[in-house]
């Protein structure tokens, strides 16, 4: 009997202890927070989220933090994970002080609509740093404010090739659709993967299709999206047929629909695949990994247009790769200055590599490798940069568009069925 009573008393005491400890803990924690604030007052800190794997970003961020006089909490998050993490952070209002965002309407619009980002006009003006950005490189939104600064130069879709494998085949980089088909056949006969493609994330296949359409007719997408033409018209249909041709002639590695982007890239870097379709942002990383073995060409003339008629850009002027500042940041002004100065420092790094920057820079271009020089020349000659379609669509339409294109690559849809569904999907998204 006494034991049971003791048990109830003990349980009550334990419960009270838990409650009181919690209260006490809160008090201690509050005190702790105050202390932290006191420490933070001595040197403010800025948290930065970046999805770009290039070590240049970390180095530039550290240098900028020292320049601005803040402690930097740098967090690199793998690209695909980042897309989810930033969506959740936006919805939950749990953003870091400064964060990078992908290019394209589907990524930029939610950030602006969330009303969680701060206008940068005041600091751009007061520091005079705004004047360093070239014309039209700072996006002014409808309310007249500038909410972001660039975090990357304009990058485009290019075709890389493995020189060693190309030499083994005794072939040269393809210049036309016929060349490409012949090269695919030649590579297959030798047991070499012609084109490595990461189908799991879907974007590489999507961009290849964009490029094939642009090679058919440089203005096809613009005309169709504006209602002056249809997505079932010849350029779209012919490009879709080219995709099915590529699949049926085993242009891509076995099981490419299940291959992750990085796994597919490894095949190219490790001399298993002859060609690799990717962004120009990968020049540095691929050059470091492959050295002189890396080859580059502007995408072949697979249709009526020549190779300098257009290229596919990863960003558009209204929605570039950007740095945003959280308007709830405890050190808002410092965070804004940090973001602006980081953007300019990154620009210096691009200029140093010999690439066209988005701001004025006193940095001189260092010697660049042969491939990067060729790319810079080609870009200079290219008449139009067509923004990737995905970047011009809303998040849900963009994802559905990529799902649809995946079905074309997977053989679930014929070219005719695909373009018909494309017309329905993109027309309803207008």
């Amino acid at each position: 009997m006494f034991g049971k009573k003791l048990g109830v008393v003990a349980a009550s005491v334990a419960l009270c202890s838990v409650v009181l400890t919690a209260c006490g803990g809160a008090e201690v924690n509050n005190g702790g927070t105050q202390n932290q604030d006191a420490t933070a007052d001595s040197k403010e800190s800025v948290t930065l989220w970046i999805f770009d794997a290039d070590p240049m970003y970390h180095a530039a961020a550290e240098a900028t933090a020292a320049e601005v006089g803040v402690d930097l909490n740098y967090e690199y998050i793998q690209d695909e994970t980042y897309k989810t993490k930033i969506s959740v952070a936006l919805a939950a209002n749990e953003l870091p002080d400064v964060f990078q965002q992908h290019a394209g309407k589907s990524y930029r619009t939610p950030v602006l609509q969330s009303k969680t980002v701060a206008p940068l006009n005041d600091i751009l003006d007061s520091t005079g740093l705004g004047k360093q950005f070239l014309d039209n490189q700072l996006v002014t939104e409808e309310d007249g404010n500038i909410y972001s600064v660039p975090s990357n130069i304009s990058t485009t879709l290019v075709l890389y090739y493995n020189k060693k494998l190309m030499n083994e085949l005794g072939a040269s980089a393809p210049a036309t659709w016929a060349d490409l088909q012949a090269l695919i056949q030649q590579a297959n006969e030798k047991g070499i993967i012609p084109i490595s493609l990461g189908g799991k994330e879907r974007w590489q296949g999507d961009l290849l299709y964009n490029m094939l359409v642009a090679r058919q007719d440089v203005n096809a997408f613009d005309h169709a999206i504006n209602g002056q033409a249809k997505f079932t018209d010849a350029p779209f249909l012919d490009a879709a047929k080219q995709v099915t041709d590529l699949v049926s002639t085993n242009a891509f590695q076995k099981g490419f629909l299940g291959s992750a982007y990085l796994d597919a890239q490894e095949l190219f870097k490790n001399n298993k695949a002859l060609m690799w379709i990717d962004g120009s942002f990968n020049f540095t990383a691929l050059s470091e990994a492959m050295g002189d073995n890396l080859g580059y060409i502007a995408f072949p003339a697979t249709g009526a247009e020549d190779i300098y008629s257009a290229t596919i850009g990863f960003q558009n002027s209204a929605a570039p790769y950007s740095l945003f500042v959280n308007n709830s940041s405890k050190n808002l002004d410092k965070a804004k200055e940090f973001a602006i100065r980081l953007s300019l420092k990154l620009n210096d790094e691009f200029v140093r590599k010999g690439l066209p920057g988005y701001a004025t820079s006193e940095v001189k271009s260092e010697s660049q490798n042969e491939q990067l020089s060729a790319y810079a020349t080609d870009i200079g000659k290219t008449a139009k940069t067509q923004a990737m379609w995905f970047g011009l669509l809303s998040a849900d339409t963009g994802q559905e568009y990529r799902d649809l294109t995946q079905q074309l690559y997977g053989g679930n849809l014929t070219a005719e069925e695909y373009t018909a569904e494309l017309e329905t999907l993109l027309r309803s998204a207008e």
């Binding site: 969506s87 969330s114 299940g258 796994d263 994802q399 995946q406 997977g410």
Partner: protein, 294 residues
């Protein structure tokens, strides 16, 4: 003491903390999710009430929803009809008094302690059709015709994922069943032996009936796990190729966080909760039987 325990107010007082935690962290989110499911909402802008439109879309126009339901059922069936019998056989094996049985037990259980992400990444490499171990092995033993684009082909992707989840969790069920077998007194087997019930007969008439409660728990756990599967599919295939491995949980994630259709994602979440509750309830009803005592 007895007076204290019969005091309903005091009992209620003791229940308050637990109940509060349950309400705040379990019940309220479920209600909120159900509420969101009746709206068109991107997670940022104001919600628009659309009634049952999300559910109508789910059941009528969303083709990949039914694919996801079918895939969940495939996971469920494999979990119950294949994984559980294998676990049972392994539990029988390691409960035998043989040399090294502890070692075997640990080996079979080892995959369970590995994280799902790690296991999935490991198998992605094994399955890789171009540089993976599985196809290389098949080539080495002159079975090149058996090589496949395991995770890249709609015909083999689901099966490939199912093999991994079976391999990963078979040890978990084995351990539960093994613990149950240890609770069966040796006397029953000795008595049965005198009546000539050895081998499969002993399993059929002694082990299985006395393990029925444990088996029921294993079945319910397997079913709930199957219906909630997410990580393994997300890492290995991301639901592809062409939705051939998509699951309700993955679809919910994609709708809410990639397409920013929080309303529709919430409707999928509600469906998943109801699906789990109904199937678990039915299983409990079907599998509940009188306790057997010898």
């Amino acid at each position: 003491m007895e007076r204290a325990l019969s005091n309903k107010k005091l009992i209620a007082l003791f229940l308050v903390p637990g109940l509060t935690v349950f309400l705040v962290f379990y019940f309220v989110p479920i209600i909120m999710t159900a509420y969101y499911s009746l709206h068109d909402w991107d997670g940022i802008n104001p919600m628009t009430f659309i009634g049952l439109d999300n559910y109508t879309k789910m059941f009528t126009t969303d083709k990949s929803f039914w694919q996801a339901v079918w895939n969940s059922l495939a996971f469920l069936l494999v979990g119950v009809l294949i994984q559980l019998p294998i676990s049972f056989a392994l539990a029988m094996l390691v409960s035998r008094k043989m040399k090294g049985r502890k070692w075997f037990r640990n080996i079979y259980f080892f995959p369970v302690v590995m994280s799902t992400t790690m296991v999935s990444l490991l198998w992605v490499k094994i399955y890789d059709p171009n540089i993976g171990m599985l196809n290389t092995l098949l080539d080495a033993v002159h079975l090149s015709s058996w090589t496949q684009a395991w995770l890249g082909d709609t015909k083999t992707a689901l099966l490939s994922v199912l093999i991994v989840t079976t391999w990963h969790y078979v040890g978990y069920n084995m351990l539960i069943l093994f613990a149950g077998m240890q609770g069966i007194s040796e006397q029953y087997y000795e008595a049965a032996k005198l009546d000539g019930a050895v081998g499969w007969k002993a399993v059929r008439h002694i082990t299985l009936p006395l393990l029925s409660d444990v088996l029921r728990i294993c079945i319910v756990l397997n079913v709930i796990y199957a219906l909630k599967t997410f990580e393994s599919v997300y890492v290995m295939t991301n639901g592809g190729p062409l939705n051939s491995t998509t699951m309700i949980a993955l679809k919910m994630f994609q709708e809410a966080f990639l397409k920013q259709n929080f309303g529709y994602g919430s409707a999928l979440a509600v469906f998943m909760v109801l699906e789990c509750l109904i199937i678990a309830w039915v299983l409990n009803k079907v599998l509940t039987r009188e306790k057997i005592e010898y």
